[in-house]
Amino acid sequence: MVDRPEVALDELYREVVLDHHRRPRGRTPLPRVDARAHGLNPVCGDEIHLHLSLDGDRITGVEVQGRGCAICTASGSMMAEVIPGHTEVEATAFAEVFRNVMHGKVVPPDVDMGDLEALEGVKKFPVRVKCALLPWVTLVDALRAWRNGATEGTATTETEEANP
């Protein structure tokens, strides 16, 4: 057996990714929560609880809790780093760019992905794309709820509750 047979893995788990995974940003509880959402990956059961602070339409703080894999955790951590300072519209647009990248599109020249570029390797692992997207889907949900005036963001990834 080769010493490190997991060479292919390094595509997925780049150093930056592993760093975010080991020391995830955005875990500190926010003093004030203006928007929130709960995200769920039905494929594996991974969950995210997302809290946001806003000043006007500008996001000032991001808090990500929950349990997910290294990819999901790193993606959420990078989001917590990159999103504060952006307006709601900018953040939603950024999420859309990231979604496109995960589905194989190229990064528009005027967009700086920051550490998120390190997640580009994920797109070669289709099942894991959902892991990387979970925090972003949840962000979009939280912002949509906030825009619609819901004080508590509703988790719109959970719809059509079938209570007996």
Binding site: P42, V43, C44, F125, P126, V127, T159, E161, A162, N163
Partner: protein
């Protein structure tokens, strides 16, 4: 106008036959003449190879696995969805639900869309429907007090379009009709019917079990809402069928079957549903056969659906001519071959269809005899059963000749003058 005169056939049935392993077979010492294609078609070598390939290289459960096999299996399964979407020009592959057969697709619409109907609402069907497009609605009517109406057929075996306006009203919620009758061969004017349905606010459901394999079908051009068909009648494996739908309609439908795949979150007493189309695909699907079906569509695309239609049109025209020339057969369905698909139903007044089929079988000729799952139509035609010969891309005029010879031999055998 070329609409009623399809281009001359360009298919080479004998070259095609070589690609279907079963057609090399002998039956009772005769080469198989398979004229039961409306029941199910034979499968090309490429479909068989695709099944083998799937099981020998990628077999795994779909959607949930991280490992390589699971990823490959998921990709192969989902490729079927997008291939079908492309083949029928669906608006979105999220609108393609993979089911067992056309019957399950029609039951799914009747149950899940049917759940939006209330007592007194009407569903318009026709006298020429297959049981699969009758019984699901009978079940719905029984459960919800929905009223079923039936567009009559004319004596030439076509939908009575003059009766249509009188049968549609604001109460009509669903119009569900076959695109091509499996008994009469009649090709129905779906685009026109869809317009009429939409004018009163009804959704249009098309039973395309006989049309998708035999003529060009364009979901978006027709403007329809739901379309059902079976892979096994389109050169694909048994156990796979499709409900193709406008996604926005599926979004409004509740699942009718629960289990793995179709959920988002499950609690002991409640559950939330997954996105479409997965919401309607509970449990481990028929992965291998779905993975293999695109090979059948590849064949149809290679031939071209216009050429397929032209070939079968040529055969049915020839068959109608030759059968009529026998002089003793009752032929059912439109006389104009341009208005019908590649099948012909007939009755020898002196020999029951079962007995005809039995005689033909000893000559290696496979036709169907019976009610063809269309008992109400049989009553309308006032027959207990008919004999039916139905054509596919690998059939040729020699096989029609063999059929005609067999029908003559049957009369001799049973001592009919």
């Amino acid at each position: 106008m070329t609409a009623t005169a399809p281009p001359r056939t360009t298919l080479d049935p004998s070259a095609l036959r070589a690609r279907f392993p079963i057609l090399q077979r002998q039956v009772h010492g005769h080469p198989l003449v398979y004229l039961d294609n409306a029941a199910t078609t034979q499968k090309p070598e490429t479909v068989l190879a695709a099944i083998q390939r799937y099981y020998s290289t990628s077999n795994a459960n779909v959607h949930r696995g991280v490992h390589t096999l699971a990823e490959e299996a998921t990709a192969a399964y989902e490729a079927c969805r997008s291939r079908v979407a492309r083949f029928v020009n669906a608006p979105d592959e999220r609108g393609v639900i993979i089911v067992r057969n056309a019957t399950e697709a029609l039951n799914l619409v009747a149950r899940a869309w049917g759940a939006t109907l209330t007592a007194g609402d009407e569903v318009l069907l026709s006298e020429m429907e297959h049981h699969s497009n009758l019984v699901p609605w009978i079940l719905l009517a029984r459960e919800r007090g929905v009223v079923l109406r039936h567009l009559p057929i004319t004596d030439s075996g076509e939908l009575d379009m003059a009766a249509l306006p009188g049968m549609l009203s604001r109460r009509t919620q669903v119009v569900a009709l076959t695109a091509m009758s499996n008994v009469l061969g009649t090709i129905n004017p779906i685009a026109e019917l869809t317009e009429a349905a939409h004018r009163v606010g009804a959704v249009m459901v098309v039973d395309a079990a006989q049309s998708v394999p035999h003529m060009p079908v364009d979901f978006q051009a027709l403007g329809i809402d739901f379309l059902a068909f079976s892979a096994h009648k389109a050169y694909g494996p048994t156990g796979v069928g499709f409900l193709v739908a406008k996604p926005e309609l599926l979004e409004r439908m509740e699942p009718i079957s629960g289990g793995g795949e179709m959920i988002r979150a499950v609690h002991l007493d409640s559950a939330t549903w997954n996105d479409i189309p997965h919401r309607f695909e509970a449990g481990t699907p028929n992965i291998a056969d779905a993975a293999a079906f695109p090979a059948a569509l590849d064949l149809l695309e290679e031939l071209g659906m216009d050429a397929v239609r032209a070939h079968e049109h040529d055969l049915v025209r020839y068959a109608l001519e030759r059968l009529r020339s026998l002089g003793w057969l009752e032929l059912h369905g439109p006389l104009d071959p341009a208005r019908r698909g590649g099948l012909v139903s007939f009755v020898d007044p002196e020999i029951h269809p079962h007995d005809l089929a039995q005689v033909l079988d000893t000559r290696g000729i496979a036709i169907r005899a019976g009610h063809h799952c269309a008992q109400p139509l049989m009553r309308r035609l006032d027959v207990a059963a008919t004999a039916r010969a139905s054509f596919a891309v690998y059939n040729d005029r020699d096989e029609v000749d063999a059929l005609v010879d067999g029908l003559m031999a049957a009369r001799k055998y049973f001592g009919v003058a």
